[in-house]
Amino acid sequence: MAKGFYTDTTICIGCKACQTACHQWNELPAVNDGQVELTGNSYDNTGRLSALDWRHVRFIEQFPEDRSQDGFLHGSRWLMMSDVCKHCVKAGCLEVCPTGAIIRTEFDSVFIQQDVCNGCRACIAACPFGVVDVGQDGKAHKCTLCYDRLQHGMEPACAQACPTDSIRFGEVSELMVLADQRVADLRAEGVPAYVYGKEEIVGGLNCFFLLVDKPEVYGMPADPRLPSDNVPEGLGLSALTAAVVAAGSVVAFRKERMDGMGGEPPPDTGPDTVPHTGPGGGSPGGGGPPPGVDLVAFMSAVHGANETARGRRAEPKAEGGCGGACGCHA
């Protein structure tokens, strides 16, 4: 029983009643302590969705730059869209949340449990719609689909406040039927309307939109990606690189030994070092790796081997069979 919003942008009048109702019901404080700041590029002065604006009415002002010519209004228009969390069927924020703070509710909405969120901020970077934001408390915040109201059989505050029914709340499947019908009607009138939020958009959006221009015009991606899309390839390439690093390191470590086996003098052997003892370097087991790999056991084995090897060495430079180089006599 997925619940959600169907937002018909063609009948949004940009009154921001939804935004105000959201603030009021959820007790969200005014942005910037109520100080009005002009965005400078739009009549919309709240700008975007944020930790304090869980609803935001976008003003898309399609006017030419040069407005000095007569008739510049021809083809110009305002587009309004009340934006909100999409409560995605495949939600990126929910995927990446490491604490289980973000859950899917019985209404199929995506909800952040504030008492569980620990402020890692992974969800903020995971949302392809720029919805989740970090608040002053360091935790993630976004629309709850008025979870508290739904639990009491009420509709979300924004939908209730909308004066034109641009925002409709209900069963997603029923809302989709309404939206498809509206699209058909608008297309019959020559309006290029379509529904943004069907299955091709991250598995479907429980809060979907009827749009009349490209998604990007409304600030939404045409083909949003989920963060998890990158993980398998990233992990695979990391594993491959790890194998190359390990193999290269083995070759680098073995090079001296292989050079020694070829009868050439070991490179970089300075006067202050222990003479190279050939394959195995005096370790038990000859040319192979030391048989003990536990540090404690290995150290004992190494020390014993060094003591044995003392007699074979031409000129031990320091006290002890290992020539002091191993540091065991420090």
Binding site: C97, P98, C117, A122, P227, G248, G323
Partner: protein, 325 residues
């Protein structure tokens, strides 16, 4: 960062999320996490393939790894703002003491990789302390005696398994940032491999530096071995950087242009990769071989830190001047 500067990065690009404001704590965690894992890996590799002269290096690698891991945990906890929130990462908040494990969440996966690697790192740390005679607590010494009695295959498997977790720790940080919708990061699927390679090269460099500071000569077989492996990983790092930039194309601009670009090319590539290779090849600056080895190692370490700084910061704050970060 000031409110004015934050406002410059406040609006995400269409199709991308907000910047998560991962700052210096995360940059340092990525760097020290790499060193922590890399030191363990190098010590284990020497344990398997080394000779008696590597004993000091092995001990050093294990002695470095665990304290760095503790530092990493502290950095991660500090990054949360409220340290007491960390436990939500480990336990199911509504169902304690059930563990919180979401392997498909890179941060959750990383938390458990860090925890699991902590066990291996701690055991190795204890072993190194016992071996160096710094730890003489009877229960630990008895435990060490028991370890000596274990089948060697089991001990081999333990150390190798620990290194696998180390690789996981060094590499998952790169995968973590690709599992976002942030420009540059989401397309940079080589980042995990690049961070892992950089971690290995920085760890080789750190061990070389410490051995030289302990009075070893640059021509000491252990030092020479590490320096040789370092050169290999630095070359691999250069290759990965080139491939990464080429595959990102225009998307790499936040990293490769502007103030971050200068830092990337001069710091991460010039200082961290090219300079160490040149120092090994030529008598650059008229320095003797010992000094060149020291400088090369410092360059690799500084370059590794700058690489992580640029990769973490530039996609989040492309318009913010470097001095403000």
């Amino acid at each position: 960062m000031s409110a004015e500067l934050l406002a410059q990065v406040a609006t995400p690009v269409v199709g991308h999320g907000f910047a998560p404001h991962w700052g210096w704590y995360i940059v340092l965690y990525f760097f020290f996490g790499g060193l922590c894992a890399g030191s363990y890996f190098v010590a284990t590799l020497l344990l398997l393939l080394g000779d008696p002269r590597d004993r000091d290096t092995i001990r050093l690698g294990y002695l470095i790894s665990f304290p760095l891991l503790i530092l990493c945990a502290i950095l991660l906890i500090l990054d949360l703002g409220v340290p007491s929130r960390f436990w939500h990462m480990v336990f199911q908040s509504k169902n304690v003491p059930e563990l919180m494990f979401k392997p498909w969440s890179p941060i959750s996966l990383g938390t458990w990789i860090l925890s699991a690697f902590g066990l291996f790192s701690f055991v190795a740390f204890l072993g190194a302390l016992v071996d160096s005679g710094r730890l003489r607590w009877a229960p630990v010494l008895r435990l060490a005696d028991r370890v000596r009695g274990l089948p060697r295959q089991a001990v081999v498997a333990w150390n190798v398994l620990g290194s696998f977790f180390g690789f996981g720790l060094a590499g998952y940080t790169g995968v973590l940032v690709t599992a976002t919708t942030i420009p540059v990061w989401q397309n940079a699927r080589l980042l995990g491999g690049l961070f892992l390679t950089s971690a290995a090269s920085a760890s080789y460099a750190l061990l070389v530096l410490l051995l030289l500071r302990r009075g070893r000569a640059h021509s000491d077989p252990s030092v020479a071995k590490l320096a040789r492996a370092d050169r290999f990983t630095v070359v691999l790092e250069l290759l990965l950087i080139v491939v990464l930039v080429l595959t990102l194309g225009q998307a790499s601009r936040p990293i490769t242009t502007g103030g971050f670009g200068v830092l990337f090319w001069l710091g991460a590539v010039g200082l961290g990769v090219v300079a160490p290779l040149l120092l090994h090849r030529t008598a650059l600056g008229g320095w003797d071989a010992h000094r060149r080895e020291v400088i090369a190692a410092v360059c690799v370490l500084v370059g590794g830190l700058i690489l992580r700084f640029v990769v973490v910061m530039s996609p989040q704050y492309p318009m913010v001047p470097l001095w403000a970060l």
